[in-house]
């Protein structure tokens, strides 16, 4: 069975400092990996995805994520955080193996608080 772990419930960072949100995954085959952000009373918004190729993926709002197969990780990063980045962030995985049923599995989420 596939799973996603986000080890930190909350990440606090000062505005202008680098932001990292950690994600590790487990799948039977090879993964497709996604990051979503959720603002209060809003649905999830897609940020970026890893499909294949370059391990460093760039997405919306200045976010990027690095795929590391040996560590089974897909950490989300932003070089300089903004107060407006304060939100709930979810990592998600799909198994490329067709028999896995194409299910998109989410982690438990990490709350990011950027302080002025």
């Amino acid at each position: 069975a596939q799973s996603v772990a986000q080890p930190e419930d909350q990440v606090n960072v000062a505005e202008g400092n680098p932001l990292t949100v950690k994600c590790t995954y487990s799948v039977s085959g090879n993964p497709y990996l996604f990051w979503y952000v959720q603002y209060p009373n809003r649905g999830l918004q897609f940020l970026l995805k890893y499909i294949t190729g370059d391990n460093l993926v760039k997405g919306s709002y200045g976010f990027e994520a690095e795929f590391n197969k040996s560590q089974t990780s897909f950490h989300l990063k932003k070089p300089s955080a903004l107060v407006s980045d304060s939100a709930l962030y979810f990592c998600a995985v799909r198994d490329r193996w067709e028999a896995a049923g194409n299910k998109l599995t989410f982690g438990g989420g990490t709350r990011v608080l950027v302080k002025p």
């Binding site: 979503y36 499909i51 194409n102 998109l104 989410f106 989420g109």
Partner: protein, 115 residues
């Protein structure tokens, strides 16, 4: 491009009552998902449709939950009878195709409170 539409936004019901949620996916999106998001947790897939056929409903509590997607467009999710533990946000999402590398687009969700 219009997003995924869901209604109602909020619903409060008593336990043992029934409730229904409606979702209209992005035009042309063949795949539709219903997720349950309990406070403090990540979304959990309840059911996935490809057009009007069910792809995955392994985590749908079929004794009380049902969903349909007639004509392969709109979808409804029903709970009958509701339990206190069903209190959650119910998210509908859609994606253009069934390919595993396709991202899903989410609606704003319906917040259900069962009292």
């Amino acid at each position: 491009e219009a997003g995924v539409a869901q209604s109602p936004r909020y619903k409060i019901i008593e336990k043992r009552q029934s409730v229904a949620f409606w979702c209209n996916p992005i035009s042309g999106h063949a795949t539709l998902y219903w997720y349950q998001q309990i406070l403090g947790q990540g979304p959990k897939l309840l059911i996935q449709f490809q057009n009007n056929g069910v792809v995955d409903d392994s985590q749908l509590p079929k004794d009380r939950f049902s969903a349909e997607r007639l004509k392969g467009v709109d979808s409804t999710l029903k709970i009958q009878p509701a339990k206190l533990e069903d209190s959650a946000v119910y998210l509908c999402a859609s994606s253009f195709g069934a390919a595993a590398n396709t991202e899903a687009f989410f609606g704003q969700g319906t917040r259900l409170t069962v009292v």
